[in-house]
Symmetry: D2
Subunit: 336 residues, 4 copies
């Protein structure tokens, strides 16, 4: 983007996540213009978009790509459409924010990454957890040597609800739709690459998941290039909300990020102490991270600086996920 | 306000708090129009207001009162100007949000309250702590009987910085500028009135405060109309940030609101465990409460419903403050 | 006591607290001999004492005072008997541990203290909370300057049960039987003396307490000789166990002692987080302090060193309690 | 043991752990007689034993086995001596408490177990963690269904110090000397058996450990017979004390046992909050469990009830450890 230019956005795909981003941008970045939004179901968008003051609503993504006023696109459509949209945006010299994953297929992902590189545009991928203030502080502390030499990182990530079976059918499975976030965090927080992965998993919650060769509970062990170890635990469903905790332990200390709680209220009564629950859902837990992700993206775009999460970061998370799938299938460690 | 009418705001006074409200309204209530802002130092406002898209900037408050488009005013100017502005707004049938306190003088405050009543407009006063989600939950729990019969409420409220001596000179002293928030919380949370007050206080931090017959550390004991007791502790300065805690204890249990922490990070190292600090400053601690206060105000205005904090609430906090001053001076309990 | 001499104990009074001490000494200080125990109800002691290997059981306290083998006595009988027993022990040159209070009457207390002084024996009084490791650490931190200049100390102390009315009738009331512990902690932790006291109190739990001009809930404000302030809150009964918390706040920081919990177990389930309860009863909360109190006492006795809590400490707690009673009655601050 | 018979103990081996048990028994179980203690280094025992009032000190274990007064033995000598001592005790009809492990060789262990069975005596093995009140409560809660169907158990266990290399040389390695405790807890808490084990480990702390084909940091994944999964993380050394945490997560909730802290003290100062450290060493962390283990053992012995931890429990922990070693060596999962 030319320095000093104003960001003019086109948003492709206005489902749950597209609307979240739209709202966040309108309320937090008034200096950014949303010129056009696209979705194949235009009808349901009309009232919502009008209330937000967005003028152009279209079912045709070319209305965005062919618009020279628009210098930046957000791709929030279903995963299989990402590659074509990225290429179209790159070829029309628009900077790109794309929801994760770029694609489940590493080869196609590489094609998109190449197109971005060739056209000299910016591509940021939606691993919003990197922008959480807690994990940012953790990374800073580890970088400053507060835990010394890294020994192990342990991530617990559990969802409050099982996603619909339809989602699981096309998502690529738990390693590609859920653990991929943790693979990315692993790389971000350790500053190192995954070299070996081993999986133990099972189906505890919904037996019908088995038909997709998928799991609803997995333990993923990793060995990193810097010699440290890692354990990720994922579960599709809890009875107590969204459970997101990380510990990094090293020669000098251990840093831990616990779940934030909804309030600081506690109640002592009848010989029990109750404390308020942790935040229940990812949109609540990562509310600020979703905003910070765009602060960082708009900053990269405006100043032609590399984004904090690029296409290769996404590709690597997918490659680890594919290795995890292989380990689960063959019941042995897989070297990347 | 006529039902269905759109809120069109005039904002009087754009110092620190006026700007905070302006920003909060622009980012969170896009359906509300800010038509005109006033401040005696117009010059310094120009760029800031332009960036926010506010068109009319004036040094003359009459530009607001005489504008029939404007149906609602925010009064964020210095305390001594409040009464006149409230009366002017009431007489021109505008709904009013006024920063606390309305005035340090109860008689003048009553004049303003009468004017509001006579003109049938809404007046909400800026005790934003009532809108904090933690205290709201506390009130709900107490109302639902979770602690049974109320025995005692204990409030700790400590500021991170000493305010400038100039401020203390005109603020009415610690009971009227600081404890008044806690007097209001006391009334809000207990649902009862203060009947007796006793003060023990001292000057620990800055001896020059003594010349204004003021304190920088006070303990205020109260007896409520519902029979329960209360203790407020206030200090002007800590070495560790903003300290805001409340406990309510009764026959069936005890509910406690601790300080929220900046993050959930903890670090174990070298035989010490460190946890992240509490939020440092009131704007950070009550960031959401400042927004919720306007959600509630706009809601009252649009639906002609009484506000959660009205002029009488403010008057009562001031009257308790005056009684506290008397108790401190005479070193004995004072009955209200 | 002559250096190198072995401690040979006589124990006077074997009610609840006498038996607790006897057990603690047998299990923790095998080098100390309990030669004789006395209680007016000898019968009920027989089996218990025999099981513990104690040979001499008597109803007559003179069997202890006239026994030259016995060089140390524990006085655990009812308060009105303390003075005579202390004098008898002092006159027979025995070191003395006496349960608190020595007496409710300061004059009589002084007589006992004089007798101890004249005979050159050691007298330690049973304010066991001083020996709690948490409060010891707190005192150490404050002494080392961790909180800088002391501003305020806040003590919350609530019992899980109402004592029997019979107890209240003769105990001297809440200030002398309950708050006196906190007056002693106040003096211990601040290293300073109480100069002024003001009380607000009420009867919330059992109206029949009113007939003894007593309270079941009190707030006691104090001003210390070092200029710092204090607030003690006492309640006779909670619905959630023994509640014992202390905060000391000063120019450089704030140190806080929370309630210890029974275990570190927490349970997240059904959108609630429960943590284990605090210890329920003083014998559980101060289990170790009761032992440490004797470690310190035996150490003083063996090495002829002054005890950590002497007769004057007890006298001062009583004098503050009497001032508190006066303040409650007259509803004004009382200078000591 | 014949009902009503008094327990008369012989203690074999008086190193660190033998002395700990001896002290615990003397101070907590005065009804149990310690008649004779044995150690190959009698000289260093003399003063210590005399102070405790133990009369018979011997270097010859036969003095214990041939003594018909002694009906119970504690075996606290080095591991390679356990088998012979167990057999000797069983053959002389003495009940047995043996430190863990019985032996590193499952065959020899079986021989000892057979001898115990044949002679109808009691054998309890020293997995003291089962007697910790926190883990006991956890087991109770899981048994009562508080977490519903078990999904996963996660154990973190880290020592504060590296043991001497000499110890590692003969201990059987980390899986047999350290993880075996966690294997036992796994079986105890889940009520199920380990069916599959996979290990990822490394040497982070002392490279000289490699020469013994051992690790100082391991992640052990397990699959249990009841379908649930498990992860144990062990490390030989931290910079912040003994770190012992367990989480059990299931369909209905999650129960967590955090580290107990030394005191409940926290200090806010200079924009940092410090809390007191966790207990530093296993003797401090499991102080009460060491006593409860003997309460349970003496109870089993007196009432001829099966002990809570028997020889087969020990054997199973060893078998899992051997499987873990194999998994680590072959870098693949091992089925038991």
């Amino acid at each position: 983007m030319i320095e000093g230019e104003k960001i003019v956005l086109g948003i492709i795909g206005c489902g749950r996540i597209g609307r979240l981003h739209t709202n966040n941008i309108i309320y937090n970045f008034p200096e950014v213009t949303i010129k056009t939004i696209q979705d194949i179901e235009v009808g349901s968008l009309m009232n919502w978009a009008k209330d937000l003051g967005i003028k152009n609503i279209t079912a045709n993504s070319n209305d965005i790509f062919s618009d020279n006023d628009i210098n930046c696109v957000l791709i929030c459509s279903p995963t299989p459409t990402h590659i074509d949209y990225i290429i179209a945006a790159a070829n029309t010299k628009k900077d790109i924010f794309c929801e994760k994953p770029i694609d489940l297929d590493p080869k196609k992902t590489n094609v998109a990454i190449d197109s971005v590189k060739r056209n000299g545009v910016t591509l940021q991928v939606g691993f919003m957890k990197r922008f959480d203030k807690t994990y940012s502080l953790m990374k800073k502390m580890v970088s400053e040597g507060k835990i010394g030499k890294q020994y192990i990182i342990k991530i617990t990530s559990r969802d409050p609800y099982l996603p619909p079976l339809n989602y699981i059918k096309t998502s690529g499975g738990i390693f590609l739709d859920m653990t991929c976030h943790d693979f990315d965090l692993l790389r971000f927080l350790t500053g190192s690459e995954v070299e070996e992965v081993f999986v133990m998993g099972d189906v505890f919650i919904d037996p019908s998941i088995r038909q997709y060769n998928d799991f609803d509970m997995v333990i993923v062990n990793v060995r990193m290039a810097n010699g440290s170890l890692g354990v990720i635990e994922n579960c599709r469903k809890t009875n107590f909300g969204y459970d997101q905790r990380i510990e990094m332990f090293g020669s000098y200390g251990s840093v831990y990020a616990d779940n934030p709680l909804v309030t600081t209220i506690s109640l002592k009564s009848d010989n029990i102490i109750e404390i308020d629950n942790q935040t229940y859902w990812f949109m609540e837990r990562y509310k600020d991270a979703y905003i910070e992700q765009f602060r960082s993206f708009f900053n990269s775009v405006k100043n032609n600086k590399p984004p904090l999460v690029n296409g290769v970061d996404c590709l690597k998370a997918i490659l680890i996920g594919i290795a995890a799938k292989k380990s689960a299938k063959e019941s042995k460690p897989v070297i990347l």
